[in-house]
Structures are given as C-alpha cells and as structure tokens.
Symmetry: C2
Subunit: 215 residues, 2 copies
Amino acid sequence: MAPKHENRRKNDPQRTQEDILEVATEEFSTHGLAGGRVDAIAEKMRTSKRMIYYYFGSKEGLYLAVLERAYRKIRTLEADLELANLPPEQALRVLISTTFDHDEANPDFVRLVSIENIHHAAHMLRSEAIRDLNVSVIETIAAILERGIAEGVFTRKADPIDIHMLISAFCFFRVSNRYTFGTIFRRDLSERATMERHKTLIADAVINYLQNKVA
Amino acid sequence: MAPKHENRRKNDPQRTQEDILEVATEEFSTHGLAGGRVDAIAEKMRTSKRMIYYYFGSKEGLYLAVLERAYRKIRTLEADLELANLPPEQALRVLISTTFDHDEANPDFVRLVSIENIHHAAHMLRSEAIRDLNVSVIETIAAILERGIAEGVFTRKADPIDIHMLISAFCFFRVSNRYTFGTIFRRDLSERATMERHKTLIADAVINYLQNKVA
DNA sequence: GTCTATATTTTGATAGAC
DNA sequence: GTCTATCAAAATATAGAC
C-alpha cells in the first residue's frame, strides 16, 4: 500500500489550489506584490509553476485570489460574536479584545492590507467579493453605542466608524509598524506583558473617551 | 543670455543628487522598493540613469538614501516645539495636532515607513543615521505627563512610549490605510471636516485616558 | 560629471509531452 | 491535471566616449 502522503495531492485540484494560495500568501505578505516571485512560490511546493498560471492566469490574478481569501477569513470571525446580551462597556471590551487578538494572530493579513494600500487599493476595488464586504462590525458598534447612551453609561455621542477606526488603528499599527517602531524605540511589541498592557490601554482609552465630554 | 533653467543642473553635483532623491522618493513611495523602477526615476529627470549608479551605487543604495532623507526631515520638525510653558493638557494637544498634521502633509513619508516595515526594517537597521534617531518626542511626552500628574490634571500614570504609540497609530493609520479603509467604509479620509473631527477625537481620547482610572 | 548604448540577469509567462 | 524545458520581456547594472 502506498503511503497516504505521497498520493494525496495527485489529481486533487482543490487541494492544489489551496496549497498554492497558502504559499502565495506567505510570499506576497513577505515581499510585496512586485517583490514576490512566482518562481519562489512554485519552488516552495511540490507542484510546478505551470499550475499557478493554469489556475490563476497571472501573477496579479494570484495576488487577487490571495487577497480575497484573506478578507474572507476575517468576515466569518466578526460575525461570531454574541454581544447583544452584555452590558455596553463589557461588550465593547470584548469587541476590542477580539480585534486586538485577530491582528496579533494574523500578521500576514495585516501585511497584505499594508501592501494593498501601497497600491492604492487598486485590486480591492476590482474585486466585488471584497468591495461588498458587509461591514457588520459597524452595526455592532453602533448598537453598543446607542445602548450605552440609553443606559447612561456613555455620555458622548460618537460616530461608530470613527470609533472603529480608533480601535483598528491601534491594533493594526502595533503589527504593521512593529519593525520600525521596535527599532526606533528598542521595544519588542510582541512581548507578552507589553501585549497585555496595550490591550488594556486601547480598551480604557475608548471607554474613557465615550464617558467624557471635553470643554 | 541663456535661460537659467537650462544651465542650472550643469555640473552642480549637489543639485543633481537632490533631484535624484526627490524623484526617487516619489517613485519608491508610490511603487515600493521592488516595484520602483530605476529607469522610471531616470526618465522623470533631466539627468541620466548613469548618475544614479554613479552617486548611489545601486538601487538599494538609492532607496536607503531616500529613507534617511525622509527621517532627517521629521527629526528637525519635532525639536521645534515650545511646549514647556504651556499647561500640560494644552501642551499635549499641540503635540498631537503637530503629529496629525505632519502625517497628513507627508503621505510619502508614511508610505516609505509602511514599505520599510514590509521589509522588516532591514534597511533602517543598517543605517546608523536612522537607528540613532534621538527620539526627543518621548522625552517631551514624559515631561508633560509628569507635570500633569504633579499639577493634578492627569490622574493616570502612563508610559510615555505607549502614549506616543496611541497617538502615532491613529495619525499614521489615517494616512497609511486611507485607501482600503476608504474603500470598505466608503469614506474619504482626506475631507476637511473629517480631518478636523479626527484631530479632535484623538486628542480627546488621549486626554480622557490620562484623566481617568478604570476599575 | 554627464551622456548614449549595451551587456547581464532576472522573472513572468508559455509550449508541448504525458 | 501535471511536469520539464524554454521563450521573451523587463530591469538592474556597466562600458566607454566626451
């Protein structure tokens, strides 16, 4: 009997495509779109370069597929939270914690977004799948803010998208700018203690902001 | 008499180098290190490609020079603020406003930093000039926080580098992620009203954070 | 110090057998 | 559907005259 592993990829198109996407994600997120090499991707797998063109048509086609896959992954994550039953402040803390952990756990995604911004989001614009991302997180935040105001625990009216940006910016920046920030300030942002402190910091900052009015 | 413009660059090495750096800054910040083309840089100026190699040795050498120049520019900016005489809260607001305006006015710099992070800050590490950036902004913030605590206007002790990160992250993200964020949330972050609102938001958030303790 | 022309290398993409 | 071998274009780098 032949060993499972050797045969597994034989005539298994879905598996082959998935393998290509996985390797390509790492390649592009490490080197950028222009810096990523199709040859390098092919070499890192058992399959050949020909298959990349067979399935994805071109280097850009592959990059777009990688990007769509990355966005698809987070969409599912956001929807899984059950926040409606929590008190507003706690709901917000859970949401922030989730965003924080997500960016921390998915540096590849963060880097791909950075790269896409270098390209003025040109590929994202071309992709219906990504453009039509339903941004449920905004509705989630909006609901929390409204409840908070109604219950009197939040005293400041705020735009949900702005609040999302305040949260995202911090969580994203910690990962996206880890290297330059770490170099300049000689600080390792992936250290456990630093991480915990930062997670509390951003949550406190958002909550305090919503609980205060400034003259 | 020959027109000034035509002769200006003749045998003016400093001017030539400066021209190259200016054009290269735009090229690299628009396309990344791998995506930037030496040919494109040469074509956008009156001088030839040969001079780029003559002065900077290689494409990477040019990129490094561009990066150093970009960092040199902000260093001077940060030192010019006179905050010691202002009340702590106001001093912080001025500092935040300055950071905000700087990133907004220098998208090229923001993009170069993003690009450098894609490359794990490898070039920055190799450059003494950048690595030894004296980070005066941290001392500035530290002084403000101490005064604030002493005067009783701030009630929370905070790490100056963390506060700097909270500020930087927001200001930087608005510019670095303008395209993907704008696409997903259909919002133009460079609009005047949005800008003003965001500038107030980050300042209020930082101040509120420093004025509160959370259970 | 500066230019035009060219060499060298890399790399995205394809042909054609199985 | 998959592989090996190869093409063609692009892009970095250099030669050599002035």
